[in-house]
């Protein structure tokens, strides 16, 4: 007899397996199943295997699931396939979490550690023997895309920054770990565009959303972090919260609740107020309130919508916003996944799978514009850049350029 434990054994995801009619739609769209027989596929490890799970974790191959969430997105019956897998993986990893999964998922720790000595950290991570050593110790593949640390964090820029006088309401800016340590320019451009629109931008002290911990099955850590963050971001009641990291937005909007059962009122409040940056701009545009002058950019760029953005079920707002820029042609790559899936493609045993998953996207990028590609999430940008050699930017870079003309 096993004692079942709280949320993991219990809630919506498990109930949703009743809706599965075995139709195979998830299997046809799963990017991992498409490239390796080592993964039995979302239908198998999700609603099928779940009927056999009780207490013992016996199907470790489910770890080949990259948690990209495509299966849940495409399921016409409402089965929370990816969520089922995430919960099963958390149960599996409770006992034997590899060191690697712990290290990768502590995004802020990694950032904090790397920051003061960024050039050295970059040199170490970029230097082959060191990467080889890291791979041996923690199982990160030596060719995998790793973030580049910046010498200046976003908050150190923000402290020195002088804001213009606001002409409309407030927004809270959520920079996320990447926007703080690795993708500082993206945060800066986002704030400058929001301020150009006349908003008073607020940047409360903020930690990590816990997504990396969650996708590696470290639920307890992730629950603590996302709850703490929700209280930090929720400081101004009713104020929109805007973020440039689409995956962190997804965590706050729904993943923390649906996968880990976090029911903190602060999270629920923040989840309804938070907007992806392009989603926010599109809403303004639809309301006729995007009072910006877009200057032409004569260029064709490929765009990749990250899995965790698609998973929010709002379409691809970046495409609609970028189409406001005269001269700019945006080609939707229509790829399923870039293969990084958060931290999946970093891992030694998954690296080749991740590269194969991303190949159709990489080919599309090389075909459309080998110099520049656009994508809303930082880990995907690192993966595409590493795998294609293109510069990959957040859509705000093009919007910023179109407005400020830099």
């Amino acid at each position: 007899m096993f004692e079942t434990d709280s949320h993991e054994a219990n809630l919506l995801a498990r109930a949703s397996l009743d809706h599965c009619v075995k139709c195979t739609i998830c299997e046809t769209q799963c990017p991992v199943m498409a490239v390796t027989p080592a993964f039995s596929g979302p239908k198998y490890v999700g609603p099928q295997a779940e009927r056999y799970r009780h207490g013992l974790s016996v199907d470790h191959s489910l770890d080949y699931c990259s948690s990209c969430g495509t299966c849940t997105l495409v399921c016409p019956q409402g089965v929370k396939i990816a969520e089922l897998n995430s919960v099963a993986r958390a149960a599996m990893k409770k006992d034997h979490m590899p060191l690697r999964d712990r290290i990768i998922s502590r995004t802020t720790l990694m950032g904090t550690f790397g920051d003061p000595v960024a050039p050295i950290a970059n040199a170490v991570l970029g230097f082959a023997p060191a990467r080889w050593a890291v791979e041996q110790v923690v199982g990160i593949h030596r060719d995998a895309a790793m973030p580049t640390f910046r010498t200046q964090t976003f908050t150190s820029w923000w402290k020195k920054h002088t804001s213009p006088t606001p002409t409309r309401g407030k927004v809270v800016y959520f920079h996320g770990c990447a926007g703080q340590y690795f993708e500082v320019e993206t945060s800066i451009k986002a704030v400058e565009v929001l301020e150009r629109l006349g908003f008073e931008v607020l940047v409360p002290k903020q930690g990590c959303c816990g997504l990396a911990a969650q996708s590696n099955g470290l639920f307890d850590t992730a629950r603590d972090w996302v709850t703490k963050l929700s209280h930090q971001l929720g400081v101004e009641p009713g104020t929109p919260i805007v973020a440039a990291s689409a995956s962190c937005v997804g965590m706050l909007k729904h993943e923390a609740r649906e996968i880990m059962g976090v029911e903190d009122p602060a999270l629920i409040d923040v989840g309804t107020r938070i907007r992806d940056l392009c989603e926010f701009l599109l809403e303004l545009s639809e309301a006729g309130e995007l009072n910006l002058d877009f200057h032409p950019i004569e260029m064709t760029v490929p765009y990749h919508a990250p899995c965790q953005l698609k998973g929010q079920g709002m379409g691809k707002p970046a495409i609609d916003v970028l189409r406001l820029i005269p001269g700019l042609t945006v080609i939707d790559a229509q790829a399923t996944c870039c293969g990084i899936a958060g931290t999946y493609g970093l891992k030694k045993e998954k690296y080749a799978v991740g590269q194969a998953v991303g190949k159709p996207l990489f080919d599309k990028v090389k075909e459309v514009n080998p110099e520049l590609a656009v994508c809303d999430t930082e880990t995907c940008r690192w993966q595409i850049a590493k795998s294609t050699g293109a510069t990959v930017v957040h859509p705000i870079w093009l919007i910023h350029k179109s407005i400020f003309g830099e």
Partner: protein
């Protein structure tokens, strides 16, 4: 005409018959079992799957409770692969009298049945979907058992001790001379060949059909009152522990997690013909209501399949014949030497699957009293084949097995995780079998899609492996789908409607199964022609009939 001989012929391949066969064989008798269909195809598989701890009887029947507790431990030990040690709970719901819990505890103590009261909070942590309003909860040692696995491993043991088994053989006559049984005639329903078995003793273990067998021996009628019970399987295990309502035993008071499903049971209505059991919609509704009391939201969960089984109760004058639940659950043995002046024939009735081994022991003891031979019963001491590892069944077994061999053999039935090798091994072992036989062995088509995806694959493989020709393979496929529908249409609602619609699209729309030629009569006709049914006044509306030629225990 084939001639065989044996000391004893056992009639009926349900749990009682296989237990008796094994006991006879282990005492050194030559014995042959004759069954008109497949093993454990009647009542022994059309139940909810509960291996009683005795808890259910601690208030009403101490003796029965004690026997259950003892036999539960024995069966779990000698046939571990058929038994899952789920544990059980008795819960007092908001609709029930908490004071009954005191009677329950006191009864358990005097019957010697292990019971432990726990707080409602502890029970809810163990089974989070339970009604949060429960006021008391008790742990018991209920388990769940697969009636087919139980029968097959007992048969394997009997065969090791020299017994023979004739399935798909219908008994046509029991012969006697000078007031003593001396043989049994039967017909092989697949080949039409007649078989005559010379013997000196016949043990009638035909359950609800025992009256027919007594008639074949020319005895005066043995009145069997089949009690029909309807059960509903839900698509996954809403609980992982057996959950009983702590009340005087009633309809719909047990929820049993067995294999990948959980089963709510059961109703109880007297019927006249165990070959044609209906699944009345109002009884399905009654089960859904009962489930709702134990698990709020039960009606929104996916109901997979329904079936009906017939309790084999021999009529007992102490209670009214229409109230079969309160008839004694204990076994009854009819000695035909006194009753009908025919020596060498015993008929057994009643009992329950949990105590099948003990019932067999009593029956063979009774026979030996008459014949004067005395051998010790050793059936409780020896492990049945297949259980040597001593591990009880776990819900995770098939998932674990497929994790090990998923890169070696493709998975054919995805719901029940049956791979191609499991199926082709079975075809080699039992080449002349039907798709329903394969289902009972391997759980093909018993999951959520009810054969929508796997049945055509199974037909294709069977044909490929030359077990059957294309006509027969297509015929088996069609018959299998017809049989699945018997347990589907009376409960069709919610998610199962979506599944039924998709299955129709695939099999009839895309594959155009309706226009593929096939042979008819692919399975032997084992049931009697349908007789007019006596329908209780309360059972108005549309009825489904379970043909007993195929089992429906999901």
């Amino acid at each position: 005409m084939k001639n065989l001989s044996a000391d004893i012929v056992v009639i009926g391949g349900g749990s009682t018959g296989v237990g008796v066969l094994r006991d006879c064989a282990m005492r050194g008798y030559s014995a042959i079992l004759v069954e008109r269909a497949d093993l454990a195809q009647g009542t022994s598989a059309r139940f909810h799957g509960l291996l009683h701890s005795g808890g259910r009887y601690v208030v009403s029947d101490h003796e029965s409770a004690r026997e259950c507790a003892e036999e539960n431990a024995i069966v779990s030990r000698i046939q571990p692969q058929a038994v899952e040690l789920t544990g059980g709970l008795f819960v007092v719901t908001p609709q029930d009298d908490p004071a009954f819990g005191d009677k329950f505890l006191a009864g358990a103590q005097s019957a010697g049945v292990w019971v432990e009261e726990i707080t409602p909070g502890t029970a809810l942590r163990q089974e989070p979907r339970l009604n949060p309003g429960i006021t008391r909860a008790f742990r018991v040692k209920d388990g769940t058992v697969d009636g087919w696995q139980l029968a097959w491993s007992a048969i394997a043991s009997a065969k090791e001790h020299g017994a023979q088994v004739l399935t798909y053989h219908r008994v046509t006559q029991i012969h006697s001379a000078d007031g003593a049984v001396n043989g049994v005639s039967a017909t092989d329903l697949r080949t039409g060949e007649d078989v005559r078995i010379a013997c000196s003793f016949v043990l009638n273990c035909a359950g609800p059909w025992a009256g027919d067998i007594a008639r074949a021996a020319g005895c005066s009628p043995v009145e069997v009152v089949p009690g029909r019970g309807v059960m509903v399987a839900m698509a996954h295990r809403l609980v992982n522990t057996v959950v009983n309502r702590c009340i005087v035993p009633a309809d719909g008071d047990i929820l049993v997690p067995v294999h990948t499903v959980c089963v709510i049971g059961t109703t109880d209505h007297k019927v006249s013909d165990p070959d044609h059991l209906e699944i009345p919609r109002n009884e399905v509704q009654q089960m859904l209501d009962a489930g709702e009391v134990l698990i709020p939201g039960f009606r929104q969960a996916r109901a997979l399949h329904a079936w009906a089984g017939a309790r084999p109760l021999i009529k007992d004058d102490r209670v009214s014949a229409s109230d079969t639940r309160h008839m004694s659950r204990g076994m009854a043995i009819i000695d035909h030497s006194g009753r009908d002046s025919l020596r060498g024939l015993l008929t057994i009735g009643g009992g329950k699957l949990t105590t099948y081994r003990l019932m067999a022991q009593h029956m063979v003891d009774f026979m030996e009293e008459q014949t004067g031979n005395v051998h010790p019963c050793t059936t409780a001491d020896e492990m049945c084949p297949g259980g040597e590892k001593g591990h009880n069944y776990l819900i995770t077994h098939r998932l674990k097995d497929r994790e090990a061999d998923r890169l070696e053999s493709p998975i054919i039935c995805e719901c029940e995780l049956m791979n191609r090798k499991m199926f082709t091994d079975l075809l080699k072992a039992q080449p002349n079998s039907s798709m329903d036989d394969w289902r009972r062995q391997l759980r093909i088509g018993m999951g959520p899609c009810q054969g929508g995806f796997c049945s055509a694959r199974v037909a294709g493989i069977a044909h490929e492996e030359s077990a059957v020709d294309a006509d027969r393979a297509t015929g088996l496929l069609k018959l299998f789908l017809e049989h699945r529908w018997i347990g589907l249409w009376p409960l069709l609602h919610g998610d199962q409607v979506r599944q039924a619609a998709l299955d129709q699209w695939m099999l009839h729309g895309t594959l155009d199964l309706d226009h593929v030629p096939s042979s008819k009569g692919v399975e032997p006709e084992v049931t009697k022609p349908k007789e007019p049914l006596v329908v209780p006044a309360s059972d108005e509306g549309k009825k489904s009939t379970t043909e007993v030629k195929e089992g429906n225990n999901d």
